[in-house]
């Protein structure tokens, strides 16, 4: 069964009348990871926020977004709020700005949990603590008493993952979660995402422009360009035999870099800068 089905989604700007998402339809199966790739401005983020109904007020959307068979456009704002976090959990690109800079991290975590569960304070801390330990964060209690600017981007990203573990959502929507990180933290965060999937068995929508990361984590992939889905399919197939010219172009440019690098690492004699 499809957990999430998006039919004829359209998003446009009220002020300019410009269409940002032209007409997109896709679905997300239970227990699978769908990646949306594309270059900046292709409408990846807007698509995700449309699913959460969190786009800016000047963006309007139409079409069907069926979550477990129910159109979320029919939900009231209050019902939608109950779904956010509990059923649909989002992970943002920049951890530094995703938490209120004048509160310690713990406050956000506790407020979120209090919104969805009737747990005691102690139970919340206990669950957060074990979730944070499972994403390799040491001293969770100490971290919860720190301000966002005192933590690194990679740690904040893992805190968001830990919160997702406690919330046990049906769908995790990750919007460029590794783009702002340096290479080593990026690797660690991706590892945690993989574990998260194994552990919760939840479905995931993973937005990225980095094909290597997508190849690493996603089962299926959508390629977007200028608000349109130009290609879709199993990740391995799309990347090994791209059909659309744009995908071909994306894949081939990426391959040049990788092939060169792989040859170096395999120790083959490379003709450097002839």
């Amino acid at each position: 069964m499809n957990l999430l089905e998006v039919n004829n989604l359209k998003v446009w700007d009220v002020n300019t009348g410009k269409e940002i998402i032209v007409n997109s339809s896709f679905h997300l199966k239970q227990n699978s990871c769908l990646a949306i790739v594309g270059e900046s401005g292709s409408g990846k983020s807007v698509t995700c926020r449309a699913i959460m109904k969190l786009n800016k007020s000047y963006l309007r959307q139409s079409g069907e977004i069926l979550f477990k068979g129910k159109n979320i456009h029919d939900l009231s704002e209050k019902e939608m709020r109950k779904k956010r976090g509990k059923n649909l959990c989002m992970i943002l690109q920049n951890g530094m700005s995703a938490f209120d800079p004048s509160c310690v991290i713990g406050i956000h975590l506790r407020e979120t949990l209090a919104e969805h569960f009737n747990w005691s304070k102690k139970e919340m801390s206990g669950r957060m603590k074990s979730a944070m330990e499972s994403v390799m964060l040491k001293n969770p209690l100490e971290i919860m008493n720190k301000y966002p600017h005192q933590l690194s981007g990679g740690m904040l990203q893992r805190i968001m993952i830990a919160l997702a573990i406690v919330l046990e959502p049906d769908i995790i929507i990750a919007d460029e979660p590794t783009t702002a990180l340096d290479a080593i933290s990026q690797y660690e965060v991706i590892e945690q995402f993989k574990k998260l999937r194994e552990r919760l068995g939840c479905s995931m929508i993973f937005i990225s422009h980095d094909l290597a990361v997508v190849k690493n984590i996603a089962d299926e992939v959508l390629v977007m360009k200028d608000g349109e889905i130009v290609e879709r399919g199993k990740t391995a197939e799309v990347f090994s035999e791209p059909q659309h010219d744009y995908t071909k172009y994306l894949v081939s440019t990426r391959q040049v870099l990788s092939n060169h690098f792989n040859r170096i690492m395999e120790g083959e004699a490379v003709v450097v800068n002839s």
Binding site: R49, R84, A98, D100, S102, H108, E115
Partner: protein, 310 residues
């Protein structure tokens, strides 16, 4: 933290010394011979060279400049700012009560300004671009373009004289506060509410609002977070506002005959009563520095990012 506050307070000392020096130099830059000014303001009919020399000796004006400054500085520390040239009364006996009166007016006005600015700022930010936002901003634009003394005069004319609701002048009961405070509030709230509005709108576009919503937090909780962050900016602005208002109630005090520093200083300027002008500048500059330091410290305490950088 403690060391920051201490450093911030210690740095006030050289600043205050420089301020006192500048104040002293300022008076001595006057194109007129101070002794002559003394005699003029005492209404001496014929100013002879001998009289000038005598006056100089009497006021210690014949000593070297730095010595004069040193004497003056030491007595200032003891709140002895000399005697008025005109009335001969000790300056502090005039400045002290007047400063207190001005301070009262300032504090009451500042509270009104802060309350009104936050109220209007929040309303406008939440309804950004809607009718109410536009109309509040439009009205505030005209109010800030209005000369406050003009508005004050009109209010005295209609509310105090024609309707006889409030006193026209003086500082007798709480009723005397209403008009001056209203005028000061009108001329300042227009500026400060815009600051609250802008900083709230900036915060509304921050990622943490999006993430809070994505986590299903209620709008009430999110608004509290936004307010908390925007008020930080607002507080530091208000910290600067208090001393500015303190120094600029002159015109309003004059219109309402408020027995404060403003009225006193205008009198002193018109009669060239230098010791009073000198004390006036020194007292307000000191208050200015103290308030600025306080607002910096409050700001540092409120903002965790600043705090950890100290």
């Amino acid at each position: 933290m403690a060391s920051y506050i201490l450093r911030r307070i210690l740095i006030m000392i050289p600043l205050l010394i420089i301020i006192s020096f500048v104040t002293f130099v300022l008076i001595n830059l006057s194109p007129l011979d101070p002794a002559e000014v003394v005699l003029q303001s005492q209404g001496v009919p014929q100013i002879t060279d001998q009289l000038i020399a005598e006056t100089k000796e009497e006021f210690g004006m014949d000593k070297p400049f730095l010595v004069q400054y040193f004497h003056w500085f030491i007595s200032c520390l003891q709140l002895d700012f000399g005697h008025s040239y005109v009335t001969g009364k000790p300056v502090w006996s005039l400045i002290g009560p007047a400063f207190l009166n001005t301070l009262k007016l300032t504090v009451v006005s500042s509270v009104a300004i802060i309350a009104l600015s936050i109220l209007l700022g929040v309303i406008c930010a939440v309804r950004e671009g809607k009718m109410i936002d536009k109309s509040i901003r439009g009205v505030s634009f005209f109010l800030t373009a209005m000369p406050s003394y003009w508005l004050a005069s009109l209010m005295i004319l209609y509310i105090s004289v024609k309707l006889n609701l409030l006193p026209t002048s003086g500082m007798n009961s709480f009723k005397s506060y209403i008009l001056p405070v209203a005028i000061i509030t009108i001329s300042y709230a227009g500026i400060y509410f815009r600051n609250v509005r802008t900083s709230m709108i900036n915060n509304l576009n921050e990622d943490y609002v999006l993430y809070g919503r994505a986590c299903g937090l209620s709008e009430k909780k999110i608004t509290i977070h936004i307010l908390r962050n925007s008020l930080q900016v607002a507080i530091s602005i208000f910290g600067m506002a208090v001393p500015i208002i303190l120094g600029s109630t002159v015109v309003i005090e004059n219109v309402f005959a408020w027995p404060g520093l403003g009225s006193l200083s205008i009198q002193a300027i018109l009669s060239r009563d230098f010791p009073i002008i000198q004390a006036y500048v020194l007292v307000l500059a000191t208050a200015f520095v103290i308030f600025n330091t306080l607002s910096d410290i409050v700001n540092a305490v409120m903002n965790p990012k600043l705090r950890s950088n100290l």
